[in-house]
Amino acid sequence: MNGHPLLEARELTVRFGGLTAVDAVSAAFAPAELVGIIGPNGAGKTTFFNALSGVVVPTSGELFASGRRLTGARPHRYAQQGIARTFQTPRVFAELSVGANIDFGLQFAGRRRPATGLLKDEASILQLIGLAAQRALPAAAITPSQQRLLEIGMALATRPKLLLLDEVAAGLTENEVEAMAQLIRRLRDELELTVIWIEHAVTTLMRHVERVIVLHQGRKIADGLPSEVVRNAEVVEAYLGDEMAEAA
């Protein structure tokens, strides 16, 4: 393992016309980290994710994966480097079966890494995310929360080193959120995946992650342990004051 962080953003900036969505954000991620990203609406979280996964080309700044420069590369290269992501609204291949959806990632970016352990094949991944029973159903026929899981499964099929989860807990019930969090924990623990998790459900996030990055109006305003971030005055001011105080 070389000395470089798994993924590193340096002064990453994304501008759309006159709007600066991400403003010189720098962050480094190590292997097997569980990091949460929070911030009020419009803080630039999803755009940051889009930049980290290659879907959006940063206006300025650099992106490195294990020391290799990735800035400006096309999205499939990111996937090949082991960066996988889910989308806020699940984008599954509606006309394919659940199994085929998982298989897709295995056929492409997933080929680059050995087929072992929990991500060995389609069946094991389905087992991991809990959709083994739905394997033959068309993806359009499963419930929205199951589609969420399928999204994650598809990303896992690329056998990533880093997983970007975009609001996977949104709209779920308390129990479902707990189950989701357990799954994410498991991914980190057993697969040594780095998981970067954007979430609106701040309380849940804070309970499970070991590190929190707070974005506000495109800038990073905090980066550290949940307990510290919660006490950060700037964060409290920028964000839902009450909810933060509750989590502390």
Binding site: V55, R74, H76, A79, L96, S97, G105, F108, R112
Partner: protein, 303 residues
Amino acid sequence: MKRDLVVLFGLAGWALALPHYGSEFVVSLGLSCLMYATLSSSWSLFCGSTRYLSLATSAFFGIGAYTGALVLGQLPWLAAIALGGAIAASVAVVMGLAVLHLRGTYFAVLTFGMTELIRHAISYWEKQVTGTVGRVLSVVPERDTVYLTMLVLAVTAVLVSIALRRSRFGLAMAGIGADEQRAQTLGVNTRLVKVGGFALTAAFAGAVGAVMSVRWTYIDPATVFNPFIGFQTVLIALIGGAATLWGPLIAAVVFSLLAETLRLQLPQVYMMALGLLLIVCVLYLPGGLASLRWPAIGGWRKR
């Protein structure tokens, strides 16, 4: 797949026998069927999966035709056909690199524009630079050779379609058609796949053009770059069901029959009918005739 292959070789065998017991008209009809079967199969192969609707078939056909006309004296028959396909494919690569990174509809309009551009460019070149209006092909192979070549092309197109559908390349194309960005984030090099698929389509169209130039013995820009060729290809593929294997083939046969019977007597009526048919098809049967019978749950994995 076995069933597909059996049907294919059955049809091919039957088609093979045609020149021996059929009249001149029947053979001509058969040739026309085979031509459109090849064109629409190879079109659907790429455009049906990826949903990038190419209107450039006429351009590649014409390029193949002109290549054939120009080299037939110097090169042997098969080499000329291959060259026609190769040059058309190279043009497709250039065209593709320029326009395939754009959205579907945009791509369609651009391919249409480029086809017309190529047509006008060649017209201009022929008139001003080489001083000819059309080209005459004097060294032509026998009718049966031409027919056989077209048959081989058609069978190859279908075989390639069958093979592609089971391959990763085909899966990639289907992913692009379903959700291109998602496919990218799962590791598909979309640019490579798109340009490759487009070039493949062009190669077939170019080869077909080269064969037909020999059949017509006289070609000029207006006939070989006639946008109608591309239009009929798209129509056949859409009506048959662009995402399926047999849909375009069946439609190709039906249309060739219609074309040969109607076109000579009432050419405008025929064209009008086709225009109307395309509109009706887009409105009421977007999945083509094939969608009436087979459920549209991806042809890739039937689990």
